[in-house]
C-alpha cells in the first residue's frame, strides 16, 4: 500500500544525514556536558556548542542567544512565563493573537491567577493579524507581544516584521513562535526584530526532543526549569546531546537547502490545490493564498467530517491532519477534550462545518506522483461520506444548504 506522509505539520521525517550526525552520541560519546572536565563530557560539550552555532546560524542569531529546550512547547512556556515573571514590575499585560498554538495560549492560563491580563488579537479571514491592531492594543503596562510566525493549521504567515517594528518602537518585547516555519522559510531574528523566537527540531527534519528559544542578548527571562547551571542559567537539566546535535545538523541542512525545498513545495502545493479544486465540490480553502507555508494545503469540505476523512485517507495510505493535532486527540478523558479548532473559528468557518477540515502538509520528500495519488483517492472518499450524511441528503433535496 502507499505510504504518503502529508502531515509534516505534526512532525517531519528525520533526515538520514541528521541521523548520521547524531549516531556517535549514542554509544560512543555518551558523556554529560556538565562533566566536561573529562574527555566524555568534553566531547558532549563541544558537540552541544557546535549545534548551538548551527541553530544560531539558521536564524542569524549569536550562539549565546540560543537556549536549548526539550521542544517547542517548552520554549513557548519559557518565553511566555519567563517574560511574565521577569517583567512583572513593569507590567502585567500581554498581547497574543487568537490563533496561537495551545502551548502559548495555555501558558497564559496560570498567569491569570497572578493578575496578568491578556489581549487576544482578532485575525482576518485569511488568519492574519493586522499590525495596526497590535499598535493600538499596546498599553503602558504591556510587557510582551506574542504572534506566531506561521500557523500550522491553515499555513498563513503572519506579518512578524511589521509587528516587530512596532514592538521595538514601543519598547515592548516581541516573541514569535516559529515552530511551523523555521527551516522552511527564511527567518532572520535581526530583520524580524523579535526578542524571543521558538524553534523546534522535529519540525524541520531534525529529531524530537530538541527545541530552542532564541533570547536576544540582554533580555531578562526567568528560568522555568530550575536546577543545575546549564544553558547559562535559562534552562536546567542535562542536555539531550544526540537530539541537540541532530537539531544543529538539521539547522545546517535547512539553511543550505530550504530555498530549493520551498520552490519545489510551492509547486506541489499548487498542483494539489488546483487538483482538489477541479475534482471536489463544496471545498473551501483556508489560510492566505500566497503568504503561506510551502507545500501546505488546507481546506474544509461541506457535509463531511474530518476524522472520517482522515481514517479513509489513512486506509488508502495517505496520512494527513484535521485541524490542529490536538483537536483530533482521541486520548482525552472525555469529549470535552475534543475541542473544535479555535483557529478555524477565528477565521470565521461556521462551526457546523469546521469539523470537516483537512490539512495536507507536504515535505521535501514528497513527490508529484504522491500528489496525483492523493488526488486520485480524495474525491471518492468525500463522495462516500456524503452518501452517508444526512446533511448532504437534505441539501440535495432542498437544493440549498
Amino acid at each position: 500500500m502507499a505510504h504518503i506522509f502529508f502531515d509534516h505539520i505534526s512532525t517531519t521525517p528525520l533526515d538520514p544525514r541528521v541521523y548520521e550526525a547524531m549516531k556517535p552520541y549514542f554509544l560512543e560519546w555518551y558523556g554529560n556536558p556538565s562533566s566536561h572536565i573529562h574527555d566524555q563530557g568534553q566531547a558532549a560539550l563541544v558537540a552541544v556548542d557546535a549545534a548551538r552555532g548551527a541553530v544560531a546560524g539558521l536564524v542569524n542569531a549569536d550562539p549565546r542567544e540560543i537556549v536549548f529546550t526539550s521542544g517547542a512547547t517548552e520554549a513557548n512556556n519559557l518565553a511566555i512565563k519567563g517574560v511574565a515573571e521577569a517583567h512583572a514590575k513593569k507590567g502585567r499585560h500581554i498581547i497574543v493573537s487568537e490563533v496561537e498554538h495551545f502551548s502559548v495560549m495555555n501558558s497564559l492560563l496560570p498567569l491569570g491567577n497572578r493578575g496578568y491580563e491578556v489581549t487576544r488579537l482578532k485575525v482576518d479571514r485569511d488568519g492574519k493579524v493586522d499590525p495596526e491592531d497590535v499598535r493600538s492594543e499596546i498599553r503602558a503596562d504591556t510587557i510582551l507581544i506574542s504572534v506566531m510566525h506561521a500557523n500550522s493549521e491553515i499555513g498563513t504567515i503572519e506579518p512578524v516584521a511589521e509587528i516587530g517594528r512596532i514592538a521595538r518602537e514601543r519598547e515592548v518585547l516581541f516573541h514569535t513562535d516559529a515552530t511551523a516555519s523555521a527551516g522552511h522559510v527564511p527567518l532572520d531574528v535581526r530583520e524580524t526584530g523579535a526578542d524571543l523566537v521558538t524553534l523546534s527540531g522535529h519540525n524541520f527534519y531534525g529529531p524530537k526532543g530538541a527545541g530552542a528559544l532564541f533570547v536576544r542578548d540582554g533580555v531578562a527571562l526567568a528560568s522555568q526549569l530550575d536546577g543545575g547551571f546549564q544553558e547559562r542559567g535559562f534552562r536546567a537539566g542535562t542536555e539531550n546531546v544526540p537530539a541537540v546535535v541532530g537539531m544543529g545538523a538539521a539547522a545546517g541542512i535547512a539553511k543550505a537547502e530550504m530555498d530549493g525545498w520551498g520552490d519545489r513545495l510551492r509547486g506541489l502545493g499548487k498542483r494539489l490545490r488546483d487538483g482538489i479544486e477541479a475534482t471536489v465540490s463544496h471545498v473551501h480553502f483556508t489560510g492566505h493564498a500566497t503568504d503561506r507555508l510551502p507545500g501546505h494545503v488546507s481546506f474544509w469540505v461541506e457535509f463531511a467530517e474530518g476524522e472520517s476523512l482522515l481514517l479513509f485517507l489513512n486506509l488508502r495510505g495517505v496520512m494527513a491532519a484535521s485541524g490542529s493535532a490536538c483537536s483530533s486527540n482521541l486520548r482525552g478523558h472525555d469529549e470535552e477534550d475534543l475541542v473544535a479548532s479555535p483557529v478555524l473559528r477565528a477565521i470565521g468557518v461556521p462551526s457546523d462545518v469546521c469539523t470537516g477540515s483537512i490539512t495536507f502538509s507536504m515535505g521535501k520528500g514528497n513527490t508529484g506522483e504522491e500528489v496525483d495519488e492523493v488526488l486520485g483517492v480524495l474525491p471518492g472518499i468525500v463522495r462516500r461520506l456524503w452518501d452517508m450524511s444526512p446533511t448532504y441528503l437534505d441539501y440535495q433535496k432542498r437544493g440549498t444548504r
Binding site: 486520548r331 472525555d334 469529549e335 452517508m388
Partner: protein, 126 residues
C-alpha cells in the same frame, strides 16, 4: 497497524451496514448536531411490534458511523421493548469498546433509537 479503534469499529466504519433511508418510515429519530461534529438520523420500519428494518445516515467521526451501523444491526428483529432497553454500553461493548472521548457516539446511538421509537409511538398513538 492497530488503529485508534478496535477492529470491530473499523469493520463497521469501512463497511457500514444499513446506510440509507426508508421511504415512509414508521419512526424517524434524529440526534446530534453537525456543529458538535456528529449527527445521526435513524429510520425504522415496524411490523407486529417488531423492528423489521432499520437504516441510518450519519455525519460524524469513525465512532459515530460505526455506532450507527452496529445499532441498526442490533435492533433489527428486536421488539420495541427490547430495542428500547438498548443502552450506549451495549453498543460500545458490541464494538469491542470505544476510546473514552468517543463514548458519546454510543450515547448518540442509544438516543437515536429512543427518539425514533418515540416518533413511532407518536405516529401510531391515534
Amino acid at each position: 497497524m492497530a488503529g485508534p479503534y478496535s477492529e470491530k469499529v473499523m469493520d463497521h466504519f469501512m463497511n457500514p451496514r444499513n446506510v440509507g433511508e426508508i421511504e415512509n418510515a414508521d419512526g424517524v429519530g434524529e440526534v446530534g448536531n453537525p456543529a458538535c461534529g456528529d449527527m445521526m438520523r435513524l429510520y425504522l420500519k415496524v411490523d407486529g411490534g417488531k423492528i423489521v428494518d432499520a437504516k441510518f445516515r450519519t455525519f460524524g467521526c469513525g465512532a459515530a458511523i460505526a455506532s450507527s451501523s452496529m445499532l441498526t444491526e442490533m435492533i433489527k428483529g428486536k421488539t420495541i421493548e427490547e430495542a428500547r432497553a438498548i443502552t450506549n454500553r451495549h453498543v460500545a461493548d458490541a464494538l469491542d469498546g470505544l476510546p473514552p472521548v468517543k463514548i458519546h457516539c454510543s450515547v448518540m446511538a442509544e438516543e437515536a433509537v429512543k427518539s425514533a421509537l418515540e416518533d413511532y409511538a407518536r405516529k401510531h398513538a391515534g
